[in-house]
């Protein structure tokens, strides 16, 4: 592997991607909405409006529905604190995964499909890079930024969530084990999943917009997790989180295997 060439491909892709508003906007807005606006709204708005905030009846009903495992985690806390922990630690955990998935997915859409659309792929295919180096450059240019944004999002979230919950719970909620596993094990797998699924989409898609739209279907599994936890079928324990990461890695590797089979310059050039 010629790392200088791989780095050059990444540098090129990232510089180009950063000029695409359709990519940059979601990368910035998504974490801000999920990790700053959402917790603040849910926890602080009701309090400001004079209702009882996290301890409201609706939330109590929801808490009554969650799985016994999760309820045992919340035992011993007063209702407001239980509500805050439930929401900030458990409900938002699956939503966190949207960030690495979407970031890698949207960058990969620009790097794999946008490059065809802009007609810049052909010159790249005539360089002495091998197919493997080309693929590695493109994978890393979507994967590494997704990790970076997830990490920054997590730091941001820890701060907002700790501040928002300070009064209710009386101790910092972050860092904690579940979220640490999420960030170091599941998020990288989720980023890999977002990007390898885009590899498959990219074979057919002709434009960045097409790829972006088809690609956004990758968040469906996250919504299923979210729903599953809300209706009490599952809850985010450390074990579940570890298992989830493993599952995502396996799926990503399978997708990568299929994506790699068509990623040869002799095939790519015929798609131009």
């Amino acid at each position: 592997m010629n790392w200088r060439a791989i780095w050059a491909i990444m540098r090129k892709d990232l510089r180009v991607v950063l000029q695409n508003k359709g990519v940059v906007l979601p990368i910035i807005l998504l974490p801000v909405i999920l990790f700053v606006v959402l917790p603040l709204l849910v926890l602080l708005l009701p309090a400001a409006l004079g209702s009882t905030g996290a301890g409201s009846n609706d939330l109590q009903e929801l808490l009554a529905m969650v799985s016994p495992g999760l309820r045992s985690q919340l035992e011993g806390l007063d209702p407001d604190a239980a509500g805050a922990v439930f929401f900030l630690v458990y409900m938002l955990a699956p939503l966190f995964l949207i960030v690495p998935i979407m970031v890698s997915n949207v960058i990969a859409a620009d790097s794999f499909v946008g490059e065809k659309e802009r007609k810049t792929l052909e010159a790249l295919l005539y360089t002495p890079t091998t197919d493997g180096e080309l693929l590695m450059g493109k994978l890393l240019s979507a994967w590494l930024p997704a990790l970076l944004v997830s990490l920054l999002g997590y730091v941001l979230y820890s701060i907002t969530a700790n501040l928002a919950a300070a009064q209710l719970v009386g101790r910092p909620l972050f860092p904690n084990l579940i979220w640490t596993v999420m960030v170091v094990w599941v998020a990288p797998a989720a980023a890999a999943f977002g990007l390898t699924s885009m590899m498959l989409v990219s074979v057919r898609a002709k434009t960045f917009q097409d790829a972006y739209q088809t690609g956004s279907l990758v968040v469906l599994p996250v919504l299923i997790l979210l729903l599953g936890q809300a209706v009490g079928v599952i809850y985010f324990s450390v074990w579940l989180t570890l298992l989830l990461g493993l599952g995502l890695w396996v799926v990503s590797l399978v997708l990568l295997y299929f994506g790699k089979r068509t990623f040869h310059r002799t095939e790519l050039i015929a798609q131009l």
């Binding site: 510089r15 000029q19 810049t120 052909e122 010159a123 295919l125 005539y126 890079t129 050039i269 015929a270």
Partner: protein, 314 residues
């Protein structure tokens, strides 16, 4: 003669029922400017792809600079530079960044990159706009930048795919000058073109492609001599006798038109053997002839001669 730098035998590429390149046998020698002529869809771009190991042949084989494009692709592409049909530049990046990224991709030594980029920007007259985004460039500037990128690693063999097709005459002339100057540095240049004037002016030898087949090969001069059966002849006549001449030649199977210079008529579409008859006709119609000049046949004549043959066959 030196050993050929490009050798192909029976090189063939099919796409479904289309035979894009059909049994191509070709040799190109070091230092040549070789023109690969043919209209759209003749198989020129496909050939360049095959020769650089970017596309797999359906049949036959090629050796470029002693390497097999299919097994030694990366090593081969280190020695070749390819100007693609569309400039294939990152329009969202500046010229400088476009060049330096490709310097890295082609493995230009790290300490050399900055110097090489600056030197190319200057040579291709882009220094002033080097830090502007390429999207803001004119077509001619883009093409110059694409050319600069093609030679950033000082390739031995250069492929140029329709280098002036999208350019206005002034920009095309600039690009021609740059191509000739890189050729003078000792490079072998393989030019795909459908522009006959360009081929005539720049190429040492040309090959004419039609429907994937090489139908003619030689110097522009040889081809013109051997293939252009119909010639054009310029007659310089006494002032005011053009009308008279046209009437006299009406019955002959030729086209007569006013010549470029005053007092001349141009007779085209005649076979060489018919020239004495034309003169006979004019003389017996009392047209006074000062001078008869057969026009050197051009590649254009060759091209149309070949093309009408193919049409007759179909």
């Amino acid at each position: 003669m030196a050993d050929p730098i490009i050798v192909t035998e029976g090189l063939t590429r099919r796409f479904g029922d289309t035979v894009a390149v059909d049994g191509l046998a070709l040799e190109v020698y070091p230092g040549e400017v070789f023109g690969f002529l043919g209209h759209n869809g003749a198989g020129k771009t496909t050939t360049v792809r095959l020769l650089n190991g970017v596309l797999t042949p359906s049949d036959g084989h090629a050796r470029i600079l002693g390497l097999d494009p299919m097994t030694d692709g990366p090593a081969l592409r280190r020695l070749t530079g390819v100007l693609t049909e569309t400039p294939s530049l990152d329009e969202r990046l500046t010229a400088r960044v476009n060049l330096s990224i490709y310097a890295d991709l082609y493995g230009v030594s790290k300490t050399e990159v900055k110097r090489r980029v600056d030197q190319l920007l200057a040579a291709f007259d882009l220094t002033e706009r080097a830090d502007d985004k390429v999207g803001e460039y004119s077509k001619g500037m883009k093409q110059r930048l694409a050319l600069a990128r093609t030679v950033i690693h000082q390739p031995t063999l250069l492929f140029l795919d329709e280098p002036t097709a999208a350019l206005d005459p002034v920009a095309a002339r600039q690009v021609h000058a740059m191509i000739l100057s890189t050729a003078r540095e000792g490079r072998t240049v393989f030019i795909n073109t459908h522009n006959l004037v360009e081929a005539q002016r720049m190429c040492d030898r040309v090959g004419v492609m039609e429907h994937g087949r090489l139908v003619a090969l030689g110097t522009p001069h040889e081809l013109a001599r051997s293939l252009a059966r119909n010639v054009s002849v310029e007659f310089e006549l006494a002032p005011g006798s053009a009308e008279q001449a046209m009437t006299a030649l009406q019955a002959m199977p030729v086209q007569v038109s006013a010549g470029q210079r005053n007092g001349t008529v141009l007779v085209s579409g005649a076979e060489r053997e018919a020239i004495p008859d034309l003169i006979d006709r004019l003389v017996s119609a009392h047209v006074r002839i000062y001078q008869v000049t057969p026009q050197e046949p051009t590649l254009e004549d060759v091209y149309f001669a070949l093309h009408s043959d193919a049409e007759v066959k179909q």
